[in-house]
Amino acid sequence: MSIRLTFWGVRGSIPVPGPTTVKYGGNTSCLELRFGKEDRLIIMDFGSGIRELATVIMKKDLPRGPIKTSVFLTHTHSDHIMGFPFFTPLFLPTTELDIYGPVSFEDDTLDKIVGDQLRYRYFPIRLEELRAKINYFPLKEGSLDLGGGLTVTTKYLNHPILVLGYRFEFDGKVLCTAYDHEMFQNVFEAKPDQPGYNEAAVKEGEIAAREQNEKVQQFYKDADILVHDTQYTHKEYLAGKKGWGHSTFGSAIKSAHKAGVKHLVLFHHDPLRTDQQLEGLYKAYMSLIRGRTRMKVSIAQEGKTIEV
């Protein structure tokens, strides 16, 4: 095993516990990545799923020594950081946490945006009371050597806030994330008789969107595992979800196939999607692509592990 991925939160937007989501899970984004024989831990996102993962880490990792790990945040929308105060290792003086996330171009920095959740108005414990040592690293597009043969490359995706996709490479294996992400669109597309029609903008926009989509595809090219946003069906997308920053099943499958991805994991399930619907959609798409791709496709499920 080179890379082991376990899902602790697979849902988009808001936690949705209940009988209709019990199989695939109702917690928001949180991934546990383990690398190599040393079982090196990297966490992706502080969604509500982090609480369960924290329990596992306290049981499994803490007895082996102080918890020193890195967390990569895709972005700072609430469903991706809401679990931060419930990550129990924060309260141990021996914990060292490196938190990476997209640079903020607003007045507030990454540490303030994430750490501000620990204020009396939101939570009974203040950030200053935490015992753990936390370092923040704002990221742009680029590559980082994380040591021990592990590298990570980042790519801006398309969402109503700056979001980073991550490409982890270790021991010849590649794991990528592309969420939250909507295929880049030519938002300037218009018909000549529409008000404000600008031919140059329409053409430029078309090229820009195409180039960006090609770059995203290039980013997860030949990945062994790709965890991709598939919040909507095509029908839902067209019925008012354009510009919300999420992909459709069809566009993700098509793009991942073109990029030569080996295993695509459908992720960031819509909060309204029931287990039954999810399985129904999965079956429908599998029958559509059967015999047309060698790519494996699966549904992200809480507690489920994938190894490469």
Partner: protein
Amino acid sequence: MQDKQQILAVIQTYIAKMPSLPITVSKILQIANDPKTSPSDLNFMISLDPVLMGRVMKLINSAYYSLNTQITSLVRAIIMLGINTVKNLALSTAVLGQLSTKGNFQALNIDGFWRHSLCVGVTAKLIAIKRKKDPKQLEEYFVAGLLHDIGKIPLNNKLSAEYVTALSLTDKERGPLYILEERTMEVNHCEVGRLIIKNWNLGPVMEDIVFFHHFLDSYPGDNRDILLTVAAANFFANTYQIGFSGDRYPEKLPQSLYEELGITLDDLEAMEEKANSEIEKAKVFLSVSQ
């Protein structure tokens, strides 16, 4: 009178929080607060404010720092950054503008400065079209024209008394403004403009246009074509008095410039109507509908 270093320090502080032009603030707030803003309106609005345009370009070029080439296309920036991110940036720039409207533009008249900047942008683009430049480059000509005088904003706002003096000297001595800026403030708008472009990380082309648009003879770089185009557009805007940026007596451009560009004064004159109609169109757009 402060020394040059003190002046530059004051200007540097101002640049970090440079506001939108008061003339565009209301429209920016209207558009950026509208959940159904059309990308075309957002695009048009940004193209009418040199400060906002500069800030969007700064964001796209600093966020995507692995880009091989500098991005100067607003359309591309909006697609890559997303409408929300751009709206957010517009809002924060406009809010700064709201806070500083009082006492702004004491020497130079804001409407005149805005018309001048837009006229130079539009005319630079028209010249480029006339010269059959690559359509992909047209926006760069526009942005260069729009931003060429950006250095006047901090001088006008932070050294208003000195700027009034410099402006009155241009009338008295019938001389170009940049020379009288140097005499009264030890710096000229080209130097200050370059500080802004560096701060915004807009790349060598914009830096050259802003710094050298009054120093064509000493220009050593590779962006001569766009520099001469902006210089011609600037001379046209000043001579035809479309807007006013304080340069009532600009230095005449050498005949060789027109020859090098392959255009004539008649060509420029023929652009007057189009430039004026573009400005009026912008003016109508900026008048906030209730």
